[in-house]
């Protein structure tokens, strides 16, 4: 019963998001909604390896970038549809993540986190120096007439929104599916105690690997969409620490280890950063980022369980109140 209730909440969120850009036709608002969906989806993916499994990754930009570059190269060099690139990118990202994280899984805690950061920085440098993918120059994706198959839409942002929306729902449902099944319990057991998990018969390395592969595949899918949406990529933009940290921040802000966390976090952080920049960024004094930084600090200090913690607390308080009055 409880599970159905919870999912109902999720469907309500999905429904609300769907109507947003149709109600508010402002193009900047639509853009923010798309970025929100992309980053909420990225957060869902990252949450699987870090929130559920407890293996902190500071290097998810690596998989984001692989997704962005796979589809872009295929489209740019061979005219292959980004949809195919998206699938291949996800497969590549899963494969590469398995290869690079397998040796890293021996590392615990922060040692692992720094290792993921190192892997992402190395991959970034490889792409910067790789002439075949145009290196540091980056790639401007050629503008083609509107086409679903080529994932290009110039008349309206709605198609991009719808694609982002569908991918976001897929990512969220993947996270839900992982969480509610055997795998989710296993991952959480690994997070809570490696040894206890082993003693319960869980092949921790294998499950961490699964989690990493699913997580990076989800991340790569959004990388492809991002590249197609911005129509330009370079290694600094898609492999940068900024992307990795943004994913970390919004999920932690929303609430780590919950399907709702990334949605709440992205719903706060993305509009906040966009609107502070829009209203204050033109001054050239850095006021927007000052406010943005200060707000993050304030949330962290006063709501250390994430914004989701706040919801849970008020809910509990409400329940207690109901009890006492009844």
């Amino acid at each position: 019963m409880n599970e159905i209730m919870k999912n109902r909440m999720l469907y309500l969120i999905f429904a609300i998001i769907l109507i947003l850009p149709f109600v508010l036709q402002d193009v900047n608002f639509q853009h923010i909604t798309i970025m929100f969906l992309i980053f909420a989806g990225l957060g869902e993916g990252w949450n699987i390896i870090t929130g559920f499994t407890g293996q902190t990754s500071f290097g998810h930009a690596a998989f984001f970038g692989i997704g962005a570059y796979t589809s872009t190269i295929m489209f740019y060099k061979f005219g292959i549809s980004p949809w195919i690139g998206m699938i291949l990118g996800a497969l590549f990202a899963a494969g590469i993540s398995a290869v690079v994280s397998y040796p890293c899984f021996r590392l615990k805690g922060h040692y692992f986190a720094i290792a993921t950061l190192a892997v992402a920085e190395i991959i970034k440098q490889l792409f910067v120096s790789w002439d075949y993918v145009e290196g540091a120059t980056g790639i401007s994706i050629p503008v083609k007439p509107d086409s679903f198959w080529m994932m290009q839409f110039h008349k309206s942002k709605i198609p991009y929104f719808l694609i982002a929306y569908v991918l976001f729902i897929v990512a969220t449902l993947v996270a839900v599916a992982v969480e509610k099944n055997k795998m989710g319990y296993y991952l959480k057991a690994i997070r809570e105690s490696h040894e206890a998990a082993e003693a319960l018969g869980i092949n921790t390395t294998r499950y961490k690997l699964y989690a990493m592969m699913i997580s990076s595949a989800v991340t790569a899918v959004f990388g492809t969409l991002y590249a197609q949406y911005i129509l330009y990529i370079d290694p600094f933009m898609v492999f940068g620490l900024d992307i990795s940290m943004k994913i970390v921040l919004l999920t932690v802000l929303g609430g780590l280890g919950s399907v709702y966390g990334p949605i709440i976090g992205a719903a706060i952080l993305i509009p906040l950063s966009e609107y502070t920049r829009v209203f204050l960024g033109g001054t050239g004094k850095g006021i927007d980022l000052m406010i943005y930084g200060a707000l993050i600090v304030i949330v962290a200090c006063f709501e250390p369980r994430g914004v989701l913690g706040l919801f849970r607390r008020t809910k509990k308080r409400g329940a207690q109140y109901a009890k006492t009055t009844a």
Binding site: I114, G293, A300
Partner: protein, 285 residues
């Protein structure tokens, strides 16, 4: 000859990394908190030196106690205002807080002092160098390196010999037990942040003669410090010191022989390789 020069450069550069990393490893090892604002505290120290130089004509070496004092104070303020509230928070909340702090400090610096790149033009050392055969040693670099080593030594002695230092060690082992033994852990944390501030304060001062002063000046140092601290083993002062030198050497030798664009990538690679053999860092157990 060239090889020697390159090695020497690596050691000189690395010793400054060490000092930045020592400050970070103190906090990290003790409180298990990743301080993203560490590099930005260093940037504040560089600005202190710069303004004392520009407005009052203080030589950077005269400003050293002042800038170190200011960053120490900044460390305490950061602890009291922010870290204290998140030190027991679950997950990565503390990281979120320090990241926000870093963003705030950087942009506050831009707000106050514009984003311009500035330099401390003249100091008693600037332009001076030592020539041994063909090998060049810049005096500012040498002093920076020696200063780093001295400072690391002092910090290590402080931790080992003084009562406060022992309290820090005890708290790092187990906060609860330390509290039972009558250690005021809050005070210990504040002192550690102050020490960490002094480290970056000194590092910033020593660097201000050779590195531009601008709001993002601490960014790359902060990032490298993460890797160095992990490479040396969290909380291990000498580990951070040697790891700093190792990263400096990797950067120099790798950069020289394989291509300078790879120098940071190689530093990251060294981390990954070393950790395959020592999963808790060079000196971690």
């Amino acid at each position: 000859m060239m090889f020697l020069q390159v090695v020497l450069t690596g050691v000189l550069v690395g010793s400054v990394y060490s000092l930045v990393a020592v400050g970070l490893t103190l906090v990290w090892g003790l409180m298990d908190i990743i301080n993203f604002a560490h590099g930005d505290m260093m940037m504040i120290s560089m600005y202190t030196v710069f303004w004392l130089y520009t407005l009052l004509k203080f030589d950077p070496f005269v400003s050293l106690p002042i800038s170190a004092g200011i960053t120490a104070l900044l460390g305490i303020v950061i602890y009291k205002l922010v870290i204290k509230r998140v030190v027991n928070a679950p997950g990565l909340m503390a990281l979120l807080a320090t990241f926000g702090l870093s963003l705030f400090i950087r942009n506050f610096a831009q707000f106050l002092w514009t984003p311009n790149y500035r330099f401390v033009g003249e100091s008693i050392l600037s332009g001076k160098r030592i020539l041994i055969a063909d090998i060049v040693i810049g005096l500012p670099q040498l002093i920076a390196a020696l200063g780093s080593i001295l400072m690391t030594l002092l910090i290590a002695l402080f931790i080992k010999r003084t009562k406060t230092g022992k309290a820090i060690q005890a708290t790092a082992q187990s906060r609860d037990i330390a509290e039972l033994m009558g250690v005021n852990t809050e005070k210990v944390y504040a002192v550690t942040f102050a020490l960490s501030g002094i480290c970056v304060g000194v590092a910033g001062t020593l660097l201000s003669g050779i590195f531009p002063v601008y709001p993002e000046a601490g960014a790359m140092y902060g990032l490298l410090a993460f890797v160095i601290v992990a490479l040396g083993g969290f909380g291990n002062i000498w580990g951070a010191f040697y790891a700093g030198i190792l990263i400096g050497l990797t950067e120099a030798l790798g950069g020289f022989y394989l291509g300078t664009q790879f120098k940071y990538a190689l530093a990251f690679l060294i981390y990954l390789l070393v950790l395959q053999f020592r999963p808790k860092g060079l000196f971690g157990w």
